[in-house]
Symmetry: C2
Subunit: 737 residues, 2 copies
């Protein structure tokens, strides 16, 4: 098969090509080891006998001071705040971010299905609080499209339009009127309660050090999910852009219903609204493009969004768009803040699942952005403290009527790129919002909704760019493409909550799939190297005569032990059942020759040994016993036969299982391996195991794998040890028998 | 740390102890390889260019004849049936099994909540059909306690008592009467429709070659599940044993409700019923014990069940127990078979989920028993054909009003131990049942229900023995114990269907848990062996100076890449962030010394480079670019600094990642590794990777891992290669810089 001399020659050539002084030699000369020998030689270190109490003590040794500092990071960084160096940058950055917070707050409130002013509240309280609790210096906390949309979905589900139709006071045959005020009040209650719950969940997860849950949201999943969210957002904003009045949908297939509703009402499009919206859209897009193109030359990015808000408010007010052209405007924005009030806990039971989803999505968005900035600026963020900080922001703020927040990519980039150094920038941004809320909020009352829809849509362009992931993933990893697509399609069709659940389940199943459908190969020796490669793939790899080396890149456990055994029999081409059949055929020949009637009688006796034993599922033990019994039979049979038939049943005398990639094994796997070793033993093929890690060895020990004729002498530290052993001991074994 | 000479000595001693002629040497001397070299040397075999068409052709080449033979296995074995040799055994075995089928059929019909005669039907049709389609020669198809109970649960849920109360004809203030006939008719319809659906699902799964789904039912799971089923069965039979009349419950917590209902009615216990039941129970237990104890001496097991049925029927008839003592009896058993009729498809929508559960549980019970017997008697069963066979049995039979069946352990053991050789035995057993149904079924009408309850309970004793698994599993595998307990508790509390779902989900999650919480270790060299062991565990393992070898027994993917990186930093004690901090501190010292203002200015410029880029989740790309940019900065910084500070930041100059146990990697894992390598590079610690399998290498290639400064020259086939390379090239590298 393989040309040994050629390979050696090529090696030597290559060696000659290398610099003489870098010619480093790999040289090992030692006896062949098996695990029994290794275990007898290696000394186990005494275990560090830390008792539970000691470990607990160690854990809680951190003083109260450290706990407070980690809970209130502001106490760490504020006293050391280098005013001269940082304050100017922070002020510039804070003002710039505040100017973006404002229009985004108004716009995302629309997504959350609550009146715009609540978006302003949500852009103030949590941002202020994060200054005290947060560990990331650059992220901009506040309203975020995906989270707002999820809240909006729940609010609409819990307070649908249909609940708030009231008969007009003057009675009878007029159609019912939608009580918008009552509906919005209810939706605010729902959003606020949801936010409280999100906060509580985040705090609890943080205290339990469960920050790691975000790892299940793998990148392709998050990107598929957020792309789907962008689709939902655009769909939900279509009606504002067109000025069409349709109801808002939530739940599975809501995106399709929404599009259908808008299309069926497309004739009632308000042309003024549409034109205004498109102008804003184009303007914002151009500004975004300019900002990106000249980001090195501009001292601060052009605040396109606030320009759109101010200009369109001015136009709307000047031309009285709302009255003259029926353009929908933001409407009533009360001045000042609301006094704190407790959320409506009666709403809680329907919101628990949603809260979990929002809490986890919110956190995972925040932490990934925070980590990115931390890496860039060489500081570290504490995942669990971030979780607690977000939770506190949500929880405390919710008493002041805010909806759930996390950090937004676009704002965070503004904050960071305009020179923000610390959380002080965020603090100033929140103060900008506060100023508007308490002083000039009413100014924005004539702001057309279509302008806000344009702001939301342009902010989502980045997310749509994620469609470009698909060809990339196609090239790099089909499985990850599948995760992306499942996340995207499920989230678009089933809604964000169920979509996320489906996507996470799918992502977890792909891991199972990977461990369960391993690649297997028969290895061959690359002469002179101590290395073994797939014989189907490499020409140099030569199989050793009479030895099959079976490699499968997976652990062995319940879901793949059957597949492992099947692959072993198929790849090596040594099937104990076939060999048994061969033996039977030979025996028959012998019987014919001898005219003996021994065998059938023997079988009768064997069968009678078994009686009715205990019912149904004790059968595994029974089966084990039966197998053992049967195996002994086989052995005695084969012994007696060996005398008659000297020629071996198979040209392969040894099979080596390469367990280098195996990391764990369970009882089902161990039983399957033991079983297959016995099956091979019955047809005189020896099976040994190589490359078993020390951890796996001790697992096998606990599983009582080494009992009966399974010994650690069948285990070898490397494949090469096993091959040498098999090559050497094979003739000896044959002679003995 | 470790005593090299001592270790070497021990080796030599051991070597001396071995026989001189078995002293096998492991000897390798070759240049140190890296993957770049290996890839340049090894020749890839040309791929076998089998096109899709060729493969399809290959697949369908098997002729129509082979297909028919595999579909109707009887055509294979019946023509070759050795009448003289096998027929007598098969007749004895068939009659013995038939005698057990009969009482079990009657008893399990009670579990399935249908009149007893349907149990007889279910013990005839499917058994007959299996003769034609089945590949296992020893299992006894028919009614089975767990499946019957699951059917009963569904039947009761879909046709609860409460649906069938009718007001007495004579009107007004009497309490409503339960219309037992209508209820039972409905329950039969439900059971039959369920059976049709189970059959269809099994056939479809079999045709799709989905026989492997049973692998998810790992052994501890099945044993926990069946133990729970036994608990449910006993609970459901309590009322018959006591003669108490309570309603039957289904769904979550039904076991608790049932026990509560029986206890609250305990005062109405029928003493005659109880005594009769206890006598049967004790008698059956003693017979079971005798059968087990003397199974070698008894030619066929004592048929305790049929004795109980006959005697108790006789007693009941003779003493008119039903009339005189109000003992509940079996009641009407119509003689003869029913004409075929189509199932009620209108019931289907509520039954789909249940059908799936029952189909899979039924199949997995059957296949595991069939495999056990096949192994014992050296023939093979075809999992997919078994699935089709079971499906056909269920599907066709359901038109004759049967409920779902699979094979039962107790009957199969009777069939096999009484000498059954082929499916002929099953055929005869079904004929025994047929005889009773068409001729003498009415004889069993006075049979007391309590006797049947006793039969069911005694048959379940074996399942309760499975509680003994718990201490065994505690010793061998905590994870499997957890699976057992979850399966048991969930199935007892939530009912068998939800319980199974929870258990399977849990079992799958344990695999995730195992891959996600790997053990990691720092390895050290065992001198002279080429082997590397955990330094914390073995005294001989010595760390090489300046080199840390990090080993983690898991693949690297989204759910554990963070943990991997954290473990790496913690275990090796080399944390790039801390080293960066050290560097900063040193730089500050230098600045103080120089009075220079360069650094802050430089940072300002860096920051301004970044602008507002596209919105939210394009951040991964952006982040990547930023990191790259930043990394170059760091590099240039470090270069400039290197001039000033010659002393290295860390005593460790190289880290070797041992990827021997890694079997797959995804893009998240690859990014994390690339990132951490860059982080280390920034603090002048080189990271190389060892033991990467060829499959993993090509996966890394597709993921574009080898780009920028990542090359295959950083990859080594073994840890020892990597160590030698790092030891050799380290001083050179230092001089170069």
């Amino acid at each position: 098969m393989s040309s040994l001399p050629a390979s050696v020659m090529r090696q030597e050539e290559a060696a000659a090509q290398e610099d003489a002084d870098t010619q480093l030699m790999y040289k090992i000369e030692r006896p062949v080891y098996d695990e029994a020998f290794i275990q007898s030689q290696l000394l186990h270190r005494k275990e560090n006998s830390t008792t539970l109490r000691q470990r607990l003590a160690q854990r809680f040794r951190c003083s109260a001071k450290a706990a407070v500092l980690s809970f209130l990071p502001i106490l760490t960084w504020l006293p050391a705040y280098p005013v001269k160096q940082y304050l100017f940058s922070d002020v510039v950055s804070g003002l710039s971010t505040g100017v973006v917070q404002l229009p985004q707050g108004l716009a995302y409130a629309m997504l959350a299905a609550v009146p715009p002013v609540y978006g302003l509240y949500s852009s103030f309280y949590p941002v202020l609080l994060y200054t005290f609790f947060g560990t990331s210096r650059h992220i901009s906390i506040g309203t975020f499209a995906v989270i707002s949309l999820m809240i909006g979905g729940v609010a609409v589900r819990e307070a649908p339009d249909s609940m708030f139709f009231m008969l007009p006071a003057n009675g009878s045959n007029m159609s019912a009127i939608l009580d918008v005020e009552a509906r919005d009040a209810r939706r605010v209650q729902v959003a606020v309660m949801l936010t409280t719950m999100v906060g509580i969940i985040q705090i609890v997860l943080g205290l339990l050090r469960f920050g790691f849950v975000a790892i299940y949201l793998t990148e392709p999943l998050v990107r598929g999910f957020t792309t789907a969210a962008a689709v939902h957002v655009v769909v939900s904003q279509l009606k504002y852009l067109l000025g069409v009045k349709t109801q808002r949908f939530s739940g599975p297939l809501s995106a399709i219903y929404s599009v259908k509703a808008v299309l069926s009402d497309i004739t009632s499009t308000n042309i003024t609204t549409l034109i205004l919206g498109l102008v804003c859209l184009v303007f914002l897009y151009v500004i975004k493009d300019l900002n990106e193109r000249f980001k090195k030359k501009l001292p601060i990015p052009i605040p396109g969004e606030i320009i759109v808000v101010i200009v369109s408010t001015g136009v709307s007010f000047g031309l009285s768009l709302s009255d003259n052209y029926k353009v929908d405007v933001v409407g009533n924005i009360p001045t000042g803040l609301l006094p704190p009030s407790a959320p409506q806990f009666s709403l809680l039971p329907n919101l628990v699942t949603d809260s979990f989803t929002i809490a986890i999505v919110g956190f995972s968005m925040g932490i990934s952005l925070a980590k990115t900035f931390a890496l860039k600026h060489n500081y570290s963020v504490d995942g669990n403290q971030e979780l607690i900080a977000l939770g506190l922001c949500n929880f405390i703020s919710s008493f002041f009527q805010t909806f759930a927040i996390t950090c937004s990519m676009s704002r965070s980039l503004v904050q960071e790129s305009t020179g923000g150094k610390t959380q002080i920038a965020g603090l100033l941004a929140s103060l900008v919002v506060l100023l508007v809320v308490v002083a000039i909020g009413f100014v924005f009352q004539p702001l057309p909704q279509t302008a806000l829809a344009a702001i939301i849509m342009v902010n989502l362009l980045g997310m749509f760019k994620q469609f470009r992931d698909m060809p990339t993933l196609w090239r790099t990893s089909k499985i990850e493409l599948a995760i992306w697509l499942v996340a995207f399609i499920a989230s678009v069709l089933l809604g964000l909550d169920y979509g996320l659940l489906v996507a996470v389940t799918f992502a977890i199943l792909t891991v199972i799939y990977r461990t369960q459908s391993p690649k297997s190969a028969v290895l061959g020796y690359v002469p002179g190297t101590g290395l073994y490669c797939d014989v189907d793939e490499y020409e140099e790899a030569a199989e050793c005569e009479g030895i099959k080396i079976f490699h499968s890149n997976s652990s062995i456990y319940f879901a793949n032990s059957d597949l492992y055994v099947n692959a072993l029999k198929e790849k090596t081409g040594v099937n104990p059942e076939h060999l048994q059949a061969t033996r039977k055929a030979r025996r028959k020949q012998r019987e014919k020759a001898n005219g003996s009637q021994k065998s059938p009688l023997k079988i009768r006796v064997d069968d009678k040994k078994q009686g009715v034993t205990h019912e149904v599922l004790s059968y595994n033990h029974t089966a084990e016993e039966q197998r053992n019994g049967q195996l002994e039979d086989r052995h005695s049979e084969s012994d007696s036969e060996e005398v008659v038939f000297f020629e071996p049943l198979s040209p392969v005398h040894s099979i080596i299982l390469d367990w280098t990639p195996a990391t764990f094994i369970d009882s089902v796997g161990a039983k399957a391996i033991k079983q297959v070793i016995k099956e091979y033993a019955a047809v005189d093929v020896r099976v040994v195991i190589a490359g078993c890690s020390r951890g796996l060895l001790s697992e096998l020990d606990t599983l009582q794998f080494f009992s009966g004729f399974m010994t650690t002498e069948m285990m070898f530290p490397t494949v090469h040890d096993a091959v040498l052993h098999c090559q050497h001991s094979q003739p000896a074994r044959c002679q003995n028998q």
